[in-house]
């Protein structure tokens, strides 16, 4: 038990958020262990992005507690917030790359603005991050000149260049085809091992998430209705988990049926 406490990096308890009458988060809580890959699953509109924004200090929750490395985060404590931001990174669904900066300038930006490193050291570290993500050949190109996969890697290079302890991933595979989805999750798993950061991912891609994660939680109607290992998720008999899991299975079955040349009928026909 003592070991678990020691390895706890992020602790979230009873997080609430509502917009007028619409309750988005109704008491969300979870624990993320240091060095793990934790995935929060949920359907579109389940409140995953709001949850992540509350965690990353972009949005203020109505109530609840967030502790990072044992220290409570409060909107009224700018020192704790600054420390949190220094030790965390965020990978946006849209990548949020600076389109008027080159790949190298994009990666260098957080170092230039948050550290006192010399220009040479910043350049060296930025090039090193680009090289580790295998896009150093494109360091002088603008994001719009890179492919979707390269942009994702560039965003990850920018996220890890400050050597963060925790990286948040917001729907990293949104809008990608199945092959690219696999590639992105494989990339996250590979670099998570290589750089030893803790990853918190929100996504609705069940299969890829189960393969890449150490722990999984399911967010439904503003609450965490399941938390456990991917194996436990696969074996769970909880009706919400079954429904969510079966939707992915149904897609797989439909694809298999299409391959066999059968007609697909929806439930309501």
């Amino acid at each position: 038990m003592g070991t678990v406490k020691q390895d706890l990096l992020l602790h979230v308890k009873d997080l609430h958020k509502r917009f007028d009458d619409h309750v988005v988060l109704a008491g969300v809580g979870l624990d993320v262990l240091r060095g793990s890959v934790f995935t929060v699953l949920g359907q579109s509109g389940a409140g995953k992005s709001v949850f992540l924004k509350c965690l990353t200090d972009v949005m203020q929750p109505d109530a609840g507690q967030i502790s990072f490395d044992g220290r409570p985060l409060s909107f009224t404590d700018p020192v704790a917030r600054a420390e949190f931001r220094r030790r965390c990174s965020f990978l946006f669904q849209s990548n949020a790359l600076f389109d008027s900066l080159t790949a190298l300038e994009n990666v260098a930006l957080p170092l230039e603005q948050t550290t006192d490193l010399t220009d040479n050291e910043i350049r060296r570290r930025s090039l090193e991050a680009l090289r580790q993500l295998e896009i150093d050949d494109h360091s002088d190109r603008y994001p719009s000149q890179l492919s979707g996969g390269m942009q994702k890697r560039l965003a990850l290079a920018r996220a890890i260049v400050t050597r963060p302890e925790l990286v948040f991933f917001d729907e990293p595979t949104a809008g990608l085809d199945p092959l690219r989805r696999n590639a992105v999750f494989a990339m996250i798993a590979k670099y998570q091992r290589q750089f030893s950061f803790t990853a918190l991912i929100v996504t609705h891609d069940v299969v890829e998430a189960l393969v890449a994660s150490d722990r999984v939680a399911l967010l439904d109607k503003g609450r965490i209705c399941f938390e456990g290992t991917p194996a436990e998720f696969a074996d769970s008999t909880d009706p919400v988990v079954c429904g969510f899991r079966d939707s992915a299975d149904a897609l797989g079955s439909s694809l298999a049926a299409i391959r066999r040349g059968e007609n697909i009928q929806s439930d309501d026909t």
Binding site: D57, V58, A82, R85
Partner: protein, 258 residues
């Protein structure tokens, strides 16, 4: 009706407070912003070098028209010799600061509002905040500092080119002696006029660039549209509000200084 009036008034007061806070935050975050000089230099280039051709063109034509109108007006009273005084005082006290500000709003201000609006739409501004970088300090402060430098310089340039335009139409086309024109300029313009000119230029620069930045930065709060239309609406509002503010501020400053 009364309720609507009250709500609108509250909205305006709240908006003004929000704008003042935005400008104040931008300046205060500049203190902590790293490598600010580079971004100020970039903003000086955008507001200065890129806008130079338009300032030169508008300055020449303003001087030419002032020379023509002034000559025909003064010749009615046999006072063509005062053409230089008329052109120079018109330019220095009013036309140069106002027209330069309007030109810079049209070019640099609208570009700034659109750029920040797109950056807001594509989450670039949120990305800065999540990195622990002040978006006010990184994106807005350099533009405001540059405006305080560039607007007076562009205005001085406008005056110089406008005077030359006045001399072109007055002396070369209409026959006023060059020496008479320039000595009239020298006699008419006093230090107080130049101070007023620069004070207006700096004030207009600060106000217009912060209004344009404010609208672009808050494009996501646009009530009438979303996405690209919100950027377009914010840019339009930025230009319209800035232009009105220039004219209103001109009246206020002039009424205090005259």
């Amino acid at each position: 009706m009364l309720e609507l009036l009250g709500r609108q008034t509250l909205q305006i007061i709240s908006g003004l407070g929000d704008f003042a806070l935005f400008t104040g935050t931008s300046f205060s975050s500049a203190v902590k912003s790293r490598r600010l000089a580079r971004r100020v230099a970039r903003a000086v280039y955008e507001q200065g070098a890129l806008c130079l051709p338009v300032v030169v063109i508008v300055g020449i034509f303003t001087g030419l028209v002032l020379g023509l109108q002034g000559y025909y007006l003064l010749s009615r009273f046999g006072s063509e010799g005062l053409l230089g005084a008329l052109v120079s005082l018109s330019l220095v006290r009013e036309m140069a600061p106002v027209l330069t500000a309007l030109v810079l709003v049209g070019q640099a201000g609208s570009a700034l509002a659109a750029e920040l609006g797109i950056q807001r739409n594509t989450e670039q501004i949120v990305a800065l905040e999540t990195m622990g970088v002040s978006s006010h300090g990184y994106l807005v402060a350099p533009r405001l500092i540059a405006a305080l430098l560039v607007f007076p310089i562009q205005t001085a340039l406008f005056v110089a080119i406008g005077l030359w335009g006045g001399s072109l139409s007055g002396s070369l086309l209409l026959g006023v002696e060059q020496g008479v024109y320039w000595s009239s300029v020298e006699r008419a313009v006093e230090a107080q006029d130049v101070r007023e000119c620069f004070m207006k230029a700096a004030t207009f620069g600060l106000l217009t660039i912060s209004v344009c930045a404010y609208h672009g930065f808050n494009a996501h709060r646009c009530r009438t549209a979303t996405g690209a239309r919100a950027v377009s609406a914010s840019t339009t509002r930025a230009v319209v509000h800035s232009s009105i503010i220039v004219l209103a501020a001109d009246y206020v400053i002039t009424s205090f200084l005259v």
